[in-house]
């Protein structure tokens, strides 16, 4: 049973506070370790604990702000943040996240939000995880070492208009490509409550041809503002951000993240990538099984607005 039950005012249920701080630190450790926001772990875990999916996604976005704020700050001080690229990504990201908050409301009313969220997770996490895994395993094979950073192709959208130079990252591409990329990631952020780092980082490396040095800082910059935008819009239009829940998760997260970062430095980049790939694949497979396996109960309920707020209940 719950040791320190805490009533979450927006989720409208009580969950053990220690458990939430624990989840926050676990995810914080992983996010420090891998340099990701951790939203892709928080949202499914919260749903599993009985938080309504809409509140889980919106509050997940809120917690991502904290982890990306400290990360972005560090990279900005170190000069490994491409502000020009970040602002263009952000322009797309803000539009995408605004669109997705709308879409979230429509899908929730249709009863398809859970499906879309799960499907997006499975397809995106599965795809990205498989790519990362294949890539890291290739890196470990003897003889294939030197061919590792394979970015020979022209960056995505190189032949689109408004060719722009990004001196900090040393790439030259159309200004439209980061905007489009940011838009896609912004939509994911709103729907899935994730920062999108696991999508954005590989996309920036493989599609925009950015060097790994500026990729992490720049993606954190974009994630910070996009998740702030999602938090604001979800709070404003759906009242689904639970600050008590977010505070508990963040409290655990900020304490654990630096230890994750230290551990990460000791493990080394190659091993880290395999582990992250495995983690991402595990989450994707788990959610995928949930979609394919016959649910324990084919029926689910949604209490309408008139009664006690706009929320889904998935036991």
């Amino acid at each position: 049973m719950a040791l320190v039950p805490v009533y979450l005012p927006m989720a409208e249920t009580a969950i053990d506070g220690l458990l939430l701080v624990g989840i926050g630190s676990g995810v914080g450790l992983l996010s420090g370790l891998f340099g990701v926001g951790g939203g892709f772990l928080i949202t499914p875990l919260l749903i599993f604990l009985g938080v309504p999916p809409a509140v889980a996604a919106a509050t997940g976005a809120n917690t991502v702000i904290a982890s990306s704020a400290s990360g972005a700050l560090a990279h900005w001080q170190r000069g490994t943040l491409d502000v020009k690229m970040g602002l263009l990504l952000l322009a797309g990201g803000l539009a995408g996240s605004a669109a997705s908050v709308r879409l979230f409301g429509i899908l929730a009313a249709m009863g398809q939000i859970d499906l879309v969220v799960s499907l997006s997770y499975v397809l995106l996490l599965g795809g990205v995880g498989a790519m990362m895994f294949a890539e890291s395993v290739r890196g470990f094979l003897p003889g294939a070492r030197k061919a590792a950073p394979a970015v020979p192709r022209a960056p995505f959208g190189a032949n689109m208009p408004w060719k722009t130079a990004f001196p900090r990252s040393g790439v030259e591409t159309s200004a439209l490509s980061p905007v489009i990329l940011g838009f896609i990631v912004g939509v994911m952020t709103g729907l899935m409550g994730v920062g999108g780092g696991f999508l954005l980082v590989p996309a920036m490396i493989y599609l925009l041809g950015m060097p790994t040095t500026t990729v992490v800082g720049t993606s954190l910059f974009q994630i910070l503002f996009v998740s702030a935008n999602v938090t604001f819009l979800q709070a404003w239009s759906h009242h689904t951000v639970d600050v008590v829940l977010a505070a508990l998760l963040v409290a655990g997260g900020v304490v654990a993240a630096p230890y994750g970062a230290k551990l990460g430095a000791r493990l080394g980049a190659a091993r880290l990538r395999v582990l992250l790939a495995l983690l991402v694949l595990t989450v994707a497979i788990g959610l995928g099984v949930g979609l394919v396996r016959q649910p324990a109960d084919l029926y689910s309920i949604r209490i309408d607005v008139s009664q006690s707020g706009d929320k889904d209940q998935t036991p």
Binding site: A69, A74, A228, L233, W236, V254, D297, L298, Q307
Partner: protein, 243 residues
């Protein structure tokens, strides 16, 4: 002086009325306050009856609409395909009785007083064949039971001697807020011979209530505060842990 006299008279009249009544009952509290540490609670309902009969207690949360969705398999994936909305769905529902209901409450009475989940009058928003309607209805009740808002078990009303009775009503952490009714029936020979309805209120109080109200009344400001807190926590931790 006159007021004191009026109160005395009123109280005397009340006691006299109570003596004539076949049934009186009250709750240990008429308010469930959901505070920050709230993890569910229980109330004691106690009362006295005159004469023969068994006691049935029905607790109902505020009614509302609930949509039930049914998944079916499409291209190997389970997705929500059909739905049915019901009106008149109590957000919370419990029944307790002094004996097994089947032994002393005829079906007509259960129908009339909605005694037991299977007798709830839920109004489907559209006509389906009776088999589907029943399946959606059962699906909803299962879901409500899974989150402990309904209880498949009938609670126990216990007697202390012949007249006094009591029962415990358990409310889980996710108890919906609003106005509740607690209906106490005295049933004898398949008839309700006395009834009493007591109101009850579930409300968020304290910090949780303030947050909830603030989030609804000042949604934009609430969103900004949520962002500010997260940025401050992240930024602050970044500064503290760097050295």
């Amino acid at each position: 002086m006159i007021r004191a006299l009026a109160i005395v008279l009123f109280v005397l009249a009340g006691t006299a009325a109570a003596r004539a009544q076949a049934l009186v009952a009250d709750l240990s509290s008429h308010l469930i306050a959901i505070t920050t540490g709230f993890s569910g609670t229980e109330l004691l309902l106690f009362g006295a009856k005159e004469g023969e009969g068994d006691v049935v207690v029905i607790v109902r949360g505020p009614d509302g609409d609930t949509t039930v969705r049914r998944k079916s398999r499409v291209a190997g994936i389970w997705i929500n395909r059909d739905d049915l909305r019901f009106a008149g769905v109590p957000s919370f529902y419990r029944v307790a009785a002094s004996r097994p209901l089947a032994d002393f409450v005829p079906a007509s009475l259960r129908q009339r007083h909605q005694i037991g989940v299977e007798y709830l009058r839920l109004q489907p928003a559209r006509e389906l064949n009776s088999e589907d309607t029943a399946a959606f209805r059962a699906g909803m009740i299962r879901n409500k039971e899974a989150v402990r808002l309904y209880d498949p078990e009938v609670g126990r009303v216990s007697f202390l001697g012949n007249r006094l009775f009591r029962t415990r009503i358990v409310f889980p952490a996710n108890v919906p807020t609003g106005n509740y009714t607690v209906e106490v029936l005295l049933v004898n020979g398949g008839q309700v011979i006395a009834a009493q309805t007591t109101p009850m209120y579930v409300s968020k109080v304290g910090v949780g209530a303030d947050i909830y109200d603030f989030a609804h009344d000042y949604a934009a400001l609430y969103g900004l505060i949520a962002i500010f807190l997260a940025v401050a926590a992240g930024w602050g931790a970044g500064v503290v842990f760097r050295k």
